[in-house]
Symmetry: C2
Subunit: 343 residues, 2 copies
């Protein structure tokens, strides 16, 4: 905290004490944890360090009608873990910057921590410090995650070459369809429910609690199978464009091969939208897009053997021609617009 934040119940002091009380795990590499001016850790010998930060903002990235505070805490950490994983890195430490509206109760904070610490346990990340400020407006959970990567396992966006095959893990389009479904349901409470509600619960869960592909990213790095990699935070179209641009290539995506979530596709059709465009443009899936040189097909078989059921699908390839297109019924179209990430 920067300047004396007065008042509020419970006080900032009490919230801080409460958080510290819940941070029990202290890895051996942690020299100074919460409660000093800064955290101090021992960097891993021979490894590079990976650093990322990402915020979830009430009213922009989440809506309390659709996400519980536990969901918000879970997602705030998950999206950062996903960024580390997309670099081939192993997430290790998190700093939590909480910007809390007046009237945030200890129960609210506990709910937020429940979700955040659930993700931390799953990703083996230790929360080593942070900051609490009051907010005159929205609730914001801003998280920084650091981790390590062996130099030879580092996966950037820029290592792809023309002819490399493009793959994506799992399925796409679920999170965006889930959010759209939650919104429609909210605004049509009194109308009849005509949609296949049950099948959309899975999509809604992908919006509320994205699963970073921690194990798969680690396998890609360890097997040195990919030439480039990034996560789908801002949608597949954006990711393909970013990898192509950073690699100095173009890209061709085959619409027929996209692993679109079936419930999401049905949802968009029922809403009169094009499921292919929706799947390409929709963000928040946190799958991995990666490029594989043809000579590394054997390495990908090794990854597949260890992937514990997480599928991955070939969706196209990087091209020498710098254009970025989706091929559909034999016709090439420009990819839908995506969104850009700062770092």
């Amino acid at each position: 905290m920067i300047s004396p934040d007065s008042g509020g119940s419970p006080g900032e002091r009490e919230l801080v004490r409460h958080i510290r009380g819940r941070l029990t795990a202290a890895p051996a590499a942690l020299i100074v944890g919460p409660g000093d001016d800064a955290a101090v850790i021992v960097p891993e010998r021979g490894a590079l360090q990976v650093l990322t930060t990402d915020a979830v903002v009430e009213g922009i990235h989440f809506d309390r009608r659709f996400s519980t505070l536990a969901d918000v805490g879970y997602k705030a950490l998950a999206v950062n873990v996903s960024d580390l994983v997309a670099m081939g890195g192993t997430p290790q430490f998190a700093l939590l910057s909480l910007i809390l509206p007046e009237g945030t109760s200890l129960a609210d904070l506990d709910a937020l921590l429940d979700g955040l610490l659930e993700m931390a346990a799953a990703a083996r990340v230790a929360c080593v410090g942070g900051n609490i400020s009051r907010s005159p407006g929205p609730l914001i959970v801003d998280v920084t995650v650091t981790g390590s990567v062996r130099p030879r396992r580092l996966l950037t966006r820029g290592g792809g070459r023309p002819g490399d095959q493009l793959f994506v893990t799992g399925s796409i389009g679920g999170a965006a369809a889930g959010l759209d479904w939650l919104r429609q349901r909210e605004f049509q409470l009194s109308a009849e429910a005509t949609e296949p509600q049950e099948s959309m619960d899975g999509c809604a869960l992908r919006h509320r609690r994205p699963e970073p592909r921690t194990r798969f990213g680690m396998l890609l790095g360890r097997n040195k199978a990919a030439s480039a990699c990034m996560d789908l935070s801002d949608g597949l179209a954006d990711a393909v464009r970013q990898v192509a641009e950073a690699s100095g290539t173009g890209a061709l995506v085959e619409a027929a091969s996209l692993p679109t979530d079936p419930a999401a596709a049905a949802w968009w059709r029922s809403r009169g939208n094009d499921p292919v465009v929706a799947a390409l443009a929709g963000g928040d899936d946190y799958e991995l897009l990666f490029a594989v040189p043809n000579k590394f097909r054997g390495r990908m078989r090794a990854v597949a053997r260890e992937a514990r059921g997480l599928t991955f699908t070939r969706i196209g390839e990087l091209t020498a021609d710098r254009s970025v297109v989706v091929r559909r019924d034999g016709k090439d179209e420009a990819l839908p617009e995506g969104f850009e990430h700062f770092g």
Copy 2:
């Protein structure tokens, strides 16, 4: 960015491109800079890594009537640098998380960056990544700074022992008095100006642009002169209490020896406030409080020789008795309440 943030002018894409264009310095230790999923650096061999995060929130930590956007950018980084310095660390890398209200222009962003990059140059910190999100409310600049510290130079809050002398750098109370002056001036625009305006400009500057004691912290660490150290982000009373608590001691502060800023003292007297209480309770000064064992007095002389004019003042000592008091006219009183920092 986490989910597709649509619209706005200029778009997030353009803001991102603009920021990247201004980040020219790329130190040798930076392997991957802005534009990938995460930044990648080479940790310093044999050093520990120090990590901290701190946010400045519009309406809580700054008011656009009193601080320019350049001031806000400057301060957002300065307060983090101060935390690193208080650990004896050398700040190296920053991640910027910007939460920007609708309608933030490129000129606004430029002003913010002007101040932030001015501080970055002064502290030799490279901005290596970050995140931009829209805000439905206030402007928030949330910064993470990492750096390195040699294990033997690490300064925690908890190393003090009874009998260690307490010192503080520079002067205290200026920032809080400066903010109070700015507020009074704003609310009494039509009334006659009765106060010594000129002398308060320096106090206002301390609120708007705090100077982290980078060189002094480095000297304390290098000379191994201090047993404990922290910065005064939340005021001297808070800092004394934190150092005593972490060190398992009490503390005695002598009111007569406090290096209160003379303009600040005059200001508080003119407002009918007790200048001693105001100087103890007021935050935002970013001086360093540190404890020095008596046997290290020689080392402090070495620090003084190299401090380039930055003074430091003995204000009391750590005690075996666990109480934390201020001695005033021979009478011991409890320290005014302070505010707590998360990590």
